[in-house]
Symmetry: C2
Subunit: 390 residues, 2 copies
Amino acid sequence: MIGTSQSMRIPSRTSLAKSLIGVLSVAGWPARLFTIAGPAGSRRGALTGAPFAPITAAMEPVRVAAVGVGLWGKTLASAAAKDTGLAVVACTSRSADTRAEFARVHGCRALPSLDAVLADPEVEAVLITTPHSVHAAQVVAAASAGKHVFVDKPFALTVADARRATEACRRAGVVLAVGHQRRRQAANRALRRLLDEGALGRVAQIEGNMSGEIAFSSRLTPAAWRAAPAETPAGAMTNLGIHHVDTYQYLLGPVARVMALSRRVVLTGVEVDDATGILLEFAAGPVGYLGTSWVHASRTSYLTLHGTDAQAWSEADGARLLLARRGRTEREAVPLAAVDPVVEELAEFARCVRDGTAPEVGGEQATANVAVLEAIVESARGGRAVDVAR
Amino acid sequence: MIGTSQSMRIPSRTSLAKSLIGVLSVAGWPARLFTIAGPAGSRRGALTGAPFAPITAAMEPVRVAAVGVGLWGKTLASAAAKDTGLAVVACTSRSADTRAEFARVHGCRALPSLDAVLADPEVEAVLITTPHSVHAAQVVAAASAGKHVFVDKPFALTVADARRATEACRRAGVVLAVGHQRRRQAANRALRRLLDEGALGRVAQIEGNMSGEIAFSSRLTPAAWRAAPAETPAGAMTNLGIHHVDTYQYLLGPVARVMALSRRVVLTGVEVDDATGILLEFAAGPVGYLGTSWVHASRTSYLTLHGTDAQAWSEADGARLLLARRGRTEREAVPLAAVDPVVEELAEFARCVRDGTAPEVGGEQATANVAVLEAIVESARGGRAVDVAR
């Protein structure tokens, strides 16, 4: 919606959120655009699928610093430039050369350390894309310095760390947003709407796979932080599978219990698993499966829901959604609008900083994903079912 | 091949099997038709994908009795009539009305009991489609009476029963064939060939789901034997999932360990689970997933292989196979010949009875599937990984 509705007169997101709690249809807005992310009224700012208020000239851009300038740090900085309401004004990374190059490309200042970023009065917020294990400490440090935080998934590797980071942001009164952008894919938004409408009936099973191509796995060298077992437990879960965990819980509610099987089948020279399978028992009933791997011939991202009234297939990275209703063999394509989930999540972050509202995926939602991750890691190690921490 | 190659001069299946052990190309036969089901030379008669010798007028039809005349008993009898070399001459079931109706439709004699069938000198072989828990005892009884045995999957519910039944047939010198016909689907034969050729590279993951439509689940009443927990452990595994277990082991070799999660999500009034997820660790490396359920909106049968050089999708009950090679986004359709797996397995059974050769899925292969089933049931009950019995 960003950029396409600039000329429309739209109520502020805050007032929209208030008026939509428990109400799915608003005069002047097509009802299908709106769904609520949780039980009605349970989450502040948990609007999903609703258009954001457009960025207007009146809103001062939020000045952010990139903490971490690797592949995803660059992706976020490029997306931030697309009318999100964020302005990248600084960056930092361990390597002076790397941060200088990033600063040149993105027209910002290179700072020598996180401390320097947090001490910089121009910086209002940070975009953290550093190794997983340091996320929590960096979030706490940023919050203590009064900086708003956008941090990449996984939020943390343990529930204890995730709670500590969430609490630090709450105490400091800063916005905390976690980069689970894939729930924003058009297919996932449409799936959520279909579920809310009851179009799928009772869901018996959910299945999906989120895997990387083997060409990427050449980066998993002993020198790469991502190949360290401490950073990457349960194979590709921290990098890829965690996305589906967020989407699954977004669609079907909390996962109560998991079983996991994780091995190294193909890779050599590194300790990281490359093929991981997970079973998930949802509190609401369904039995789920999530597969993740580093070594598929090509990238894999699919998600399937098997309901009693219809089955649905999200394909092509959430750009295509097929639906087969009971008694019909053909699959119908569900019309989807084009969305850029990364641009959308960054625009939401900017808006939350300015409005003081909460993002859709904040500390609480991201901690629920970390809890599933931690249970998966424990199950894969112990070969038994593990309850997800609540 | 049956019925289409009557005019061709073809060596007997026995001589073909001998000449093909370890040899994939035979003069006059396209090499792609032939693959070996196990390590070369490891299994007697383990030819797969090879054409059967045609039924000739010289071969006397094998006179079989249907033991069990339910849905699958009827399906087998109808298929048997399609030039398989079997002649259904008798039937039996618990209900006099049901067996009389079957006898009328299929033009055979209705006999009052299994004992009567086994005492009947005209009957050379039995087609067993009775409740799972009685398969083993009936196979042993048939073997003791010198009757050849074709028995539906699951062969048995325990490895002990499966071994007992296998040994009885071996001692009696009768043919034992088990109805795992789905490995004969065109897509599975082609997948096996692609794997043998190394076209997929190293396989990291296999995923599939084999589930029934919810309309069928209306048959799962307390009065139906299939709804008894003792007959149907681990939900739809015994009815549907066991097919994929056979196909998985046919494609990737033995499963070493499983984890399973099985629940009742939708059904009420019966004790049977309706949603089951299973993780499988293959001895050769890959991590597998199998989902099975009674309550999907429509029937589900898919199977996906994720290899390092290519990924493959078997769809439409094995009638469509798509392949995506590394570095290419489009999926190519693999050309498949039309096959009728049930007709083919029955024709093979007739040929084995007359030739004294072993069928592709005999007691040993079927016992390996029962071993996986038994481990799945134990894992679902205990919530932990279970090694598959060898």
